[in-house]
Point group: C2
Chain length 153, copies 2
DNA sequence: TATTGTTATACTCTATAACTATA
DNA sequence: TATAGTTATAGAGTATAACAATA
């Protein structure tokens, strides 16, 4: 707990916070452009892509309300968004036999392919950034990142 | 260029791409929640916050068209967004003496304070993540990040 | 009576088109 | 005639309210 007359003390936490903030911001710009354009070209909304992502990664059946809760959106908004996905054959919507008020939303093979394509576009932006790194820097970053990413929830 | 019978070859580039992608995604979730809620509570749109950020970081005078171009939005959309910012006293909008068709948008002291508050909320999310790291991991990540962030555009 | 989802309606944000003022 | 910005209007996406079906 070092005291200092000025408030210029920069701790490792401060420095890392700033570094991570800058990096995330930069990567978002890199990867966002192409991704948003691709989604737009598909005629899908961001909400629909997020829903597809949730469904692609879900392990248990997912109801409409589940999706809305995860995405922080209202039930009507999800109903409409899923409606569009159903019409395009990207997901299916069926009554839950255990509770017929509820609907089970399941991604189709076509929906999964579409989601993976979007994922690849995003990854390509990150990859372009990584490819531009000095190999030594790249390896050092990987070393620093490996144990942290391993523990992400 | 090692050949392999399977396609399981994972290069450092692959691994780092994935690690960075995962980290960015995780940090976005952490920092996005509070930030979006704060913006919403202020009654401002995301566009208005982005405009404020651009203006807060701008070094030269900025026209309405400049903002729209940077943000990828139409002139009418920017006009409306800036209108709201002017009404709240967060920016000023004045004729450019050199070309009276053009307007110079300038952030006010109050606008700058507001932008910094939002920035702090976002940074707080990153900081919470950093605080949760094992100190050794934290320092290793900082070492890996330092030369890279230094060279960001 | 409570809950899941859908439909009706209003609001916000955006874009295109039409317009004004200046170059 | 071309350009910077504003105003008018339409479309997409969201939320609240009202509704239907099931628990």
């Amino acid at each position: 707990m070092q005291a200092s007359t000025a408030s210029k003390q920069v701790t490792p936490t401060d420095e890392l916070t700033r570094a991570l903030g800058d990096l995330v911001r930069y990567l978002l710009v890199c990867t966002g452009r192409d991704t948003f354009r691709a989604i737009d070209d598909l005629g899908l909304s961001l909400t629909q892509i997020k829903a597809a992502q949730l469904l692609a990664e879900a392990e248990a059946p997912v109801s409409l309300g589940d999706i809305g809760e995860h995405l922080g959106l209202s039930l009507p908004a999800m109903s409409r968004a899923v409606d569009g996905l159903v019409k395009r054959g990207l997901v299916t919507r069926e009554e839950d036999p255990a509770d017929r008020r509820s609907k089970r939303i399941v991604i189709t093979r076509r929906g999964r392919r579409l989601y993976e394509r979007i994922y690849e576009i995003r990854a390509a932006g990150v990859r372009a950034f990584v490819d531009g790194l000095d190999p030594d820097h790249r390896d050092a970053l990987l070393d620093g990142l490996r144990p942290i990413v391993r523990d992400l929830p």
